[in-house]
Amino acid sequence: MSLAASALHPGDLLRVASVGLRSRRLRASLSALGIAIGIAAMVAVLGISDSSKANLLAALDRLGTNLLVVEPGQGFVGNDDAVLPTTSETMLRRIGPVQQVSSVTSVDASVLRTDLVRGDLTRGITVKAADTRLLDTLVGGMADGEWLDEARSRLPVAVLGSEAAARLGITDVGDGVQVWLGDRWFTVIGIMEPLELARDLDASAVIGRPIATAELGTPETPGTVYLRTDPDRVDAVRTVIPATVNPENPDQVDVSRPSDAIEARAAASNAFTALFLGLGAVALLVGGVGIANVMVVSVLERRSEIGLRRALGATRRHVSVQFLSEALLLSAAGGIAGVLLGAAVTAVYDLLRGWEIVVPAVGLAGGIAAALLIGAVAGLYPATRAARLAPTDALRTV
């Protein structure tokens, strides 16, 4: 006589596994919470670090990678007064792919809020003389007021870098704020936003080159030259710059590309990311131990259910699969909650930073996969224990 083997449909398995959890809601949600916290931490760390990278790359896109900076290099040993020739700008414009050239020269003066302070209390703010193209070349923006134009370059007006404005305590240019620059008052006509391609200008007050030369004795030689080239020929231009600027001493010309620094920052993996990922992993592990604990207790408590199911025809495998599925359901619930929580944390952080919201798919999928893996490992022992329980022992009531 043949017997149809005991069977348990997948749909029924899901139902049976969820009944055990539904009848112990508080305990189930607390143990799922452990997993959720671990997963949320990992997803948020991955999300925030990816958002930060995306933000840097977006900045690169906006700022362009075709800006080159030309500065006087080190001369011979002990000879640190190497300068760029006065003809530098003219020569650089002659290089075919060069599209835009602008320069800045340091002015030997200090900027003060009032004329009653000692002249050496500069708060680290420098004064630079610049031409009118500078802001455009550096893709800078104005936080308030206006940039220099040809007419005002001859007048005693200044534009402050973002950091310089903050240090001087100037937040807007509304009612003709003045600063004591050199030996006279300059009216502040604008405050720049941070210049990501020329951070050293953030702590500067910029004035027009004509007034600097005429009244403050600034030399006509450019201190730093910024130039934009055809994006496809940056390297070619870069190689010919030293000889073009200073044919006699090309080794006294330094050329750098500020976008390289941003690219490097975007590529660098943050040490904190690794640390927080590690903490997330520990939280996840603790969550897994919590699930294992809850499942072991559950097996002890539900002896009679196990006995009943064996009496109804469940095989050992049916029993172990049921308990394993419960553990997986718990961890999957925790994983999904954790992924949502982690994504929410990332979104809030990005919004506060004003970044574009980036939640990596790898983090989401990986989070749920990690939760399921933990659940499987945590559920294995309790499930095996439940399956090993002899039905007669399971049905014996004390």
């Binding site: 006589m1 005991s6 348990l8 009679s304 009943l308 009496a311 095989t315 007669t392 049905l395």
Partner: protein, 261 residues
Amino acid sequence: MTSTTSTTSATAAAPHDVIRLRDVVKEYPGDPPTRVLHGVDLTVGRGELLAIVGPSGSGKSTLLHIMGTLDRPTAGDVEIAGHDMARMTDKQLSALRAGEIGFVFQQFFLLAGMSAVENVADGLLYTGLRLRDRRARARATLAQVGLGHRLDHNSEKLSGGERQRVAIARALVGEPSVVLADEPTGNLDSRSGDAILGLLHELHADGSTIVVITHDHGIAASLPRQVAVLDGRIASDSGAARSAFADAQMCAPAKTEGVVA
């Protein structure tokens, strides 16, 4: 070997007998081993309603577990619904329980948080039947045990007697060859207990084979056949003398019992 011959003869008698135990011995390991069943012979025919009665520690629970294939005997032959237990794997025994044996327990063992219908439908959970069919049969069986009006009640909201009816419906829903009821009235007041016994009589009249395990001689006396168990042996079996089952297969073990007892 004797077991071979007994198996052959048992198979021949299978259509009439649902349970055949022959010289069943059960020992639990220890030093010395504890022997709880000393060579039990028992045959239950199809359609019978009988009581296995004995004090606690008499071995009647062990007997129930062996008849229910929840435990294997140390020695002897067990045949349930024509299947020789010794030749079956654990998996096959599970299938046998799913299809041929229904259990009713003193503690009901209903699953909390589930309705009456769901509890009864779970009696068919491991048979491979689809959920819809299981539910339909569960509703029909609940109506049969007089709970047609309590289908969707949560099991925790039912009275003790109603819970035991649900448990009986769960045992019956798969139309098993035999229902094994372990102290089915043990947790009930006398009125509900009487009602449950009445239900068992009705089900018996409809053709179900029911074995009731009890320590209560009064309950045993109300059933058509009583098998008294004492110290792991069958002390008396009223069915052995009954002409309805007095064929050669039935009488032989009964005579042996007389000698042993």
